[in-house]
């Protein structure tokens, strides 16, 4: 039975129609943000520049698409329709007459649906991995910059060691099926995932040391929550099943955090070295504040400007790293709809069929571009102050 196709205009309308919920939510969020931009601090200032608005729009688009994926995507990303293998955009499903808006891939899966579902993988891992890398980089970078000496020398050497590894080599060594049979991922997870917990507790303890009541009110819930998440991430005890990662994801997550953390460490250390010489730090030292207080509550808040800019860049870079892993088929589950894997699946037939590889490639590019534009707009805003 010959497959029937939609016309080009029908395809465009179809795609816009599927994306309508995303656009509606975007319009509401951005409209409200724009109206109240004077009261929204740094985020509100983004709406003052064209670059900032474009950046927010691109990032928000993919964020909302990821959240609404079950509504937006017409098909299950894993379902294969044999009649629609390599079908061109607009091909109609023979049974239901629903369209494969961007065509089918080599296994007859809906390219559009896979692209939308793929955004979930990125949006779940990239920001989380960046945050973990930040927790590690800050926890180690602050004391290295503040105290200097052998601590600084040692940590800097370690960071440079990881940075001297070509990323791709590290991935090929760390993200293999064999390595999962060893204790290495578990050990790495236990060490790396402990840092956010340590960071939060030191952060609170440094501030509320003199006020045990407040300390108990903040630190105990934080420790309890952090502890549960920590045990869940390690797969030791996870009553809700909300935080546990499967072995594939854990391996990818660890590799990305491990590669990103040294860069963050270097940035934080550099900022600390600079801010340490300021008068307000000297004033705090003269008051007799403890080093943890000075680092967490004097230096860190004053380093936030460059750090916020870098977080945006870093999430974009993490997205690229995730794509690289997917492209080499490292650590991703088979048939995973993440963008790197779909690009890799599609590129084999690229000279004959362009539609399976192009959408995820452009999707990844637009998200990273959005994040880079955000970072640029934030940098401009911070220069104005």
């Amino acid at each position: 039975m010959p497959v029937e196709f939609l016309s080009t205009s029908a395809i465009v309308l179809g795609i816009l129609g599927r994306l309508l919920p995303v656009f509606v939510v975007m319009l509401v969020v951005m409209g409200a943000s724009f109206a109240f931009r004077r009261r929204l601090g740094l985020y509100g200032q983004l709406y003052d520049s064209g670059i900032g608005i474009v950046g927010v729009a691109l990032v928000l688009f993919w964020l909302i698409a990821a959240i609404l994926a079950p509504v937006v995507a017409p098909f299950d990303p894993y379902v294969q329709v044999r009649e629609l293998q390599n079908a061109l955009p607009g091909a109609l499903h023979p049974a239901t007459d629903e369209a494969f808006l961007l065509g089918g891939d080599a296994l007859g899966r809906c390219v559009f649906s896979r692209m939308i579902w793929g955004s979930r993988v990125v949006m779940a891992i990239a920001p989380a991995a960046t945050l973990f890398a930040y927790a590690i980089g800050i926890t180690l970078g602050l004391p290295a910059g503040y105290f200097g000496g052998w601590l600084d020398t040692g940590l800097t050497f370690l960071a440079n060691l990881v940075l001297a590894f070509p990323v791709i080599l590290l991935f090929y060594l760390l993200v293999t099926p064999e390595i999962r049979q060893t204790a290495l991922p578990g050990t790495m997870a236990a060490v790396l995932f402990a840092f956010p917990l340590v960071f939060v507790l030191v952060f609170l303890a440094a501030r509320f040391r003199e006020r045990p009541g407040v300390l108990a009110l903040t630190a105990v819930p934080a420790a309890a929550l952090g502890g549960v998440v920590y045990l869940g991430l390690l797969g030791i005890w996870d009553p809700t099943g909300a935080v546990a990662m499967d072995a594939n994801t854990l391996n990818i997550f660890l590799a990305v955090v491990f590669v990103t953390a040294p860069t963050v460490f270097r940035i934080v250390r550099g900022l600390t070295l600079d801010i340490r010489t300021r008068d307000y730090v000297a004033a705090a030292q003269t008051r007799g504040e403890r080093p943890t207080y000075i680092m967490m509550w004097e230096i860190l808040p004053n380093a936030r400007g460059p750090l916020v800019v870098d977080v945006c860049l870093r999430i974009g870079y993490t997205t690229i790293l995730l794509g690289t892993l997917g492209f080499f088929g490292l650590g991703v589950a088979p048939e995973s709809p993440d963008w790197g894997s779909t690009i890799n699946d599609g590129r084999r037939f690229l000279r004959l069929f362009i539609h399976p590889a192009l959408p995820p490639a452009l999707a990844l590019m637009s998200l990273v571009l959005g994040l880079n534009l955000l970072a640029d707009a934030l940098r401009e805003q911070s220069l104005k102050d």
């Binding site: 670059i51 050497f157 440079n160 060691l161 940075l163 001297a164 590894f165 070509p166 990323v167 791709i168 080599l169 090929y172 060594l173 760390l174 293999t176 064999e178 390595i179 049979q181 060893t182 290495l184 974009g316 690229i320 794509g323 690289t324 492209f327 080499f328 790197g340 690009i343 890799n344 599609g346 590129r347 690229l350 000279r351 004959l352 069929f353 362009i354 590889a357 192009l358 490639a361 452009l362 990844l364 590019m365 990273v368 571009l369 994040l371 880079n372 534009l373 640029d376």
Partner: protein, 318 residues
């Protein structure tokens, strides 16, 4: 200067030893060795046979002993045998490295001049229209990793369905008969685009900073033309920072090379690294790692020394 150089070299050698030790242990993890045994003898070996084979081959000796032995071999030029290609590693590696060297040469030839020109034009008049246009393009290219630009470029220039078909989508023939514009344009462009924006932005920042300096104003007030100021006074000082950036790009370029060699089927060093890793070829993977690590460390050393030489204000003491 000599003390500085010596210190740097010392750190570099220490780093190299640490890195190779890490790679050596990761490659020689127990599951990897078991897989190797099953590949080399028969997939249906029992655990006991695997144990015996590994012991006979000397894989179960103490880690330190094996590492020192391997390191000694590397220093003497004995890089071991490749199980994937069934040939000495050095014979497999050398021609592939040459091929990648050719690719890198063309990438640098395309990337560095265009990035520098972009950065200088953008930075010499901060906030002007060319500056805004170039800065936006630069952000765009840094958002386009090789696996994206490779796909997009192939679609535009090589696809049989909609493309212009100017260039070939495969660089396989470049490895055999030498590079031509037809088979080499896409791989070179793909790598160059991703690095270009970053270098251009760094050059722009450096150039913009130099242009605000007092001596530039003095030169302008003395009546030197804008062109003369840019070319004679600003350029020399503005190019110090990009030099470091370019040197530190090499680790990223290596990732790009691997992606592009897979994408365009160019069988150079990157392709070899993937083959070695995918086929559990332990000695070849180790050799590839050594080469990669040495390249990265050497460029770092050149960047440090070059920076000190180029910038007289940074005369390193001790």
């Amino acid at each position: 200067m000599l003390v500085f150089l010596g210190k740097r070299l010392g750190t570099m050698i220490l780093t190299a030893i640490c890195l190779t030790a890490i790679v050596f242990s990761l490659v020689n993890l127990r599951p990897n060795l078991e897989r190797l045994a099953k590949e080399q003898v028969s997939p249906r070996m029992t655990d006991q046979q695997v144990e015996v084979w590994l012991r006979d081959q000397g894989y179960l000796r103490p880690w330190a002993e094996r590492y020192v032995e391997w390191l000694g071999g590397v220093v003497r030029g004995d890089w071991g045998q490749s199980t994937r290609f069934r040939a000495p590693v050095s014979e497999v590696l050398a021609p592939r490295l040459g091929l990648t060297g050719v690719l890198m040469f063309w990438v640098l030839m395309v990337m560095i001049p265009s990035a520098l020109v972009m950065g200088i034009v953008a930075g010499m008049r901060e906030g002007s229209l060319p500056d805004r246009a170039i800065s936006t393009v630069a952000i765009g290219t840094t958002s386009t990793p090789e696996y994206v630009s490779g796909v997009v470029l192939t679609v535009i220039f090589a696809s049989q369905m909609v493309g212009l078909q100017w260039f070939s989508g495969s660089a396989a023939s470049a490895a055999e008969t030498g590079p031509t514009l037809q088979n080499f344009a896409l791989p070179v462009l793909t790598i160059a685009i991703y690095g270009m924006g970053y270098i251009a932005r760094m050059t722009r920042a450096s150039m913009a900073e130099v242009m605000t300096q007092q001596y530039i104003r003095t030169a302008r007030l003395k009546g030197v033309s804008f062109r003369g100021v840019v070319l004679r006074h600003a350029l020399r000082n503005a190019l110090i920072a990009p030099f470091t950036v370019i040197m530190l790009q090499f680790p990223w370029l290596l990732t790009g090379v691997v992606i592009v060699e897979i994408l365009f089927n160019y069988r150079g060093f990157g392709w070899l690294l993937v083959e070695a890793a995918a086929n559990n070829d332990i000695e070849l993977l180790l050799a590839c790692s050594v080469v990669a690590v040495v390249i990265v460390l050497a460029t770092q050393l050149i960047s440090d020394v070059g920076y000190a030489l180029l910038n007289p204000r940074i005369r390193v003491s001790g």
